[in-house]
């Protein structure tokens, strides 16, 4: 769905206040009764901010059949024109308030009716009120100066990072035809799913469409395919292989293939890697990582040579103690600097 995001058009938008719960009791949301006026500039800003964020940071999601959340039903009914937009947004605000715990910060639930081409859609954004200082030139009689005003009621600025977004669009008549994208840019790279659990599961009633372990395995396989098909130089192959194992073994819970490519691959190989990923249906943008299906492959580097030489090294040892140099005829010179503790 990401490639269609530039076509997203916002139709109407409503904002409800969802305060932070106080000790021992849930906070009641302060509900708006009608959609907010949406001048063209504000509409464009909202569209651009959300599509940019979703495009680079969102994960594909689907409704979880076992969820307790009312959102899947509300979204499905509203996209099927069986439920009013304002009523749905109020119920969503109530649902968000009840999913909040004492540790969750309050905020604003913005619900927008939108469309991507002919597909109807709904955007749910959880935003926090922001503060800022407005500076404005004041002229007229007297000496020229600037007025400075502290504003506590900002909702979304070009620098806003503290917000969560869910987008649902219906591409067909069946229930399964609803596509979802969810992102949470404020979530640390080390969080388990890349999205706050209360937002993804408790509130939206969703789960990730692609299981992190499966998509991580597919990424690894696609990478191996790319290496053998597109990288002839054995030294470069080895360097890339070490880079990918290092990336997958890191503490980060997400992988961004484009960032990886920029950081580790030569310019002529980056596009080729993206092609290899697309071929296997692996996202070329951020995806949640789980290495359990490729763990064994990540722990050790193994080199099999043409004339019966095999080298196996832990990832760290290979990085610290081995050097690689490509010779003529596609031969690789490997230098190992270490103490021999046993021979067989």
């Amino acid at each position: 769905m990401k490639k269609h995001l530039p076509n997203l058009e916002m139709k109407q938008l409503i904002v409800h206040e969802v305060p932070r719960p106080t000790a021992g009791s849930k906070a009641e949301p302060i509900l708006s009764e009608v959609p907010s006026p949406l001048p063209t500039e504000a509409r464009t800003f909202f569209e651009e901010k959300t599509t940019e964020t979703l495009g680079s940071k969102a994960f594909d999601v689907e409704f979880d059949p076992g969820t307790q959340s009312s959102i899947p039903q509300l979204v499905t009914a509203t996209l099927g024109r069986k439920h009013g937009f304002v009523k749905m947004s109020c119920q969503a605000a109530v649902a968000l308030a009840s999913s909040h715990t004492g540790a969750t910060s309050g905020g604003l639930l913005t619900v927008a009716e939108c469309a991507i081409g002919t597909w109807p859609g709904l955007l749910l954004l959880k935003l926090e009120k922001e503060e800022g200082v407005r500076v404005e030139r004041v002229g007229g009689v007297g000496r020229r100066t600037l007025s400075v005003e502290h504003i506590r009621t900002l909702m979304l600025t070009s620098k806003t990072r503290v917000f969560k977004v869910g987008l649902f669009v219906r591409k067909g008549a069946k229930n399964g035809d609803i596509l979802g994208l969810v992102c949470d840019p404020q979530q640390p790279r080390t969080s388990e799913t890349g999205v706050a659990q209360f937002f993804l599961e408790t509130f939206l009633g969703c789960r990730l469409t692609q299981q992190p372990d499966v998509v991580t395995r597919d990424f690894f396989h696609a990478f191996e395919g790319f290496l053998s098909a597109s990288v002839a130089d054995p030294e470069v192959q080895t360097r890339y292989r070490m880079a990918v194992t290092s990336e997958l073994a890191s503490q980060d819970q997400t992988v961004d293939p484009k960032t990886f490519a920029r950081k580790h691959l030569a310019i002529e190989h980056r596009k080729l890697l993206m092609g290899a990923l697309e071929l296997l249906g692996v996202p070329t943008s951020l995806f949640p990582k789980d290495t359990k299906l490729v763990k064994a492959r990540l722990e050790k580097l193994r080199l099999d040579f043409q004339h019966g030489i095999h080298v196996i090294a832990t990832r760290e040892a290979a990085k610290e103690r081995m050097k690689f140099k490509t010779l003529s005829n596609e031969q690789l010179e490997v230098t190992i600097r270490d103490k021999v503790i046993r021979t067989r």
């Binding site: 490639k3 530039p6 076509n7 058009e9 495009g55 680079s56 980056r270 596009k271 943008s285």
Partner: protein, 316 residues
């Protein structure tokens, strides 16, 4: 023909709004059809002034209904060699009642106005005084437009029996304007074939598609500078094959590009979008976004690339 001036003027005053609506509509449709094939010549319209109408009727001894240029549209081309394309669009898109290529009527040793005139039926079937309206469309190359404006003063106002030397001078001027069109065409073709003209060729390819999206004028010098710098990301020469590939890309993505241009024509927020090289940047984004970001022209802020990425859905 006996002319009752007051009656003629009264009838024309009554019918003139219909003629005005007719030529305004023809001009607007013509601009649309020309833009659809990537041409944005200057298109103007006018209804004949009342006094000119009466004077023409007297001068040519014509009846009111015999004056066929009461509604008139003029197309002045930027490039002389676009004339055939414009004429083809008129023939294809309008009901042509008559076509008059003035150059065909001139003998080999006479130089005069050589534009093409079309008489077309009102596209919406307007009528006035019980008759179907028609509109005259003149297609002028730049030199012909110059001659049309010069000749208005030089020949129409010339007294009868002008000296032979003056007539010869008028001929020389007419020949000169014809020469302007021929030389402009020749020089342009020669420039396009010369070494280092690759960016200009590419710009022509892009311009054709750009004008299908928007009629806005752009900064040509900036385009040539940016195309030269963006071409670094192509990693291959900007030859005819490259132009053809860009052309194919623009055709294949026409609807998508059109949508962007329709929605994002905000000159303040997207100044770069209103330049044809943006289409080339989209082509490069689709071809290899990594190479484009590495070779992105230093004179352009990185935020412009980010905006184009977001517009194209090639998120970083």
């Amino acid at each position: 023909m006996s002319l009752v001036v007051e009656e003629t003027l009264a009838r024309y005053a009554e019918e003139r709004p219909a003629f005005e609506a007719s030529c305004r509509r023809v001009a607007s449709l013509l601009e649309e059809h020309l833009q659809a094939v990537g041409l944005v010549p200057r298109v103007t319209w006018r209804t004949k002034d009342s006094d000119s109408l009466v004077k023409k009727m007297v001068r040519k001894d014509q009846a009111y209904d015999g004056v066929l240029d009461k509604a008139g549209v003029r197309v002045v081309l930027g490039y002389p060699d676009d004339a055939d394309k414009v004429c083809e669009v008129i023939r294809h898109q309008f009901e042509v009642l008559d076509e008059d290529n003035k150059s065909e009527k001139l003998s080999a040793d006479v130089f005069r106005y050589a534009g093409v005139h079309f008489l077309i039926a009102d596209p919406d079937g307007r009528r006035a005084g019980g008759r179907a309206l028609c509109c005259e469309v003149q297609v002028h190359k730049p030199g012909e437009a110059l001659w049309a404006s010069l000749s208005h003063d030089l020949t129409y106002k010339a007294p009868p029996g002008i000296p032979k030397a003056t007539e010869r001078a008028i001929n020389r001027l007419a020949a000169l304007t014809e020469l302007i069109d021929l030389e402009a065409t020749r020089v342009r073709r020669s420039l396009m074939q010369s070494e280092g003209a690759s960016e200009a060729n590419l710009l022509m390819t892009l311009e054709k598609h750009f004008f299908r999206m928007t009629a806005c004028r752009y900064d040509e010098r900036l385009s040539l500078i940016l195309l030269r710098e963006l071409s670094e990301a192509l990693d291959e020469p900007v030859d005819q094959a490259a132009c053809d590939a860009v052309d194919a890309f623009c055709r294949a993505n026409h609807e998508r590009l059109r949508f962007l241009f329709d929605r994002k024509q905000d000159a303040v927020r997207y100044p770069f979008l209103l330049q044809p090289e943006t289409l080339f940047a989209f082509y490069l984004l689709a071809k290899d976004e990594f190479r484009l970001e590495q070779k992105w022209p230093q004179r352009l802020p990185a935020s412009e690339l980010q905006k184009l990425r977001n517009l194209w859905g090639a998120y970083a």
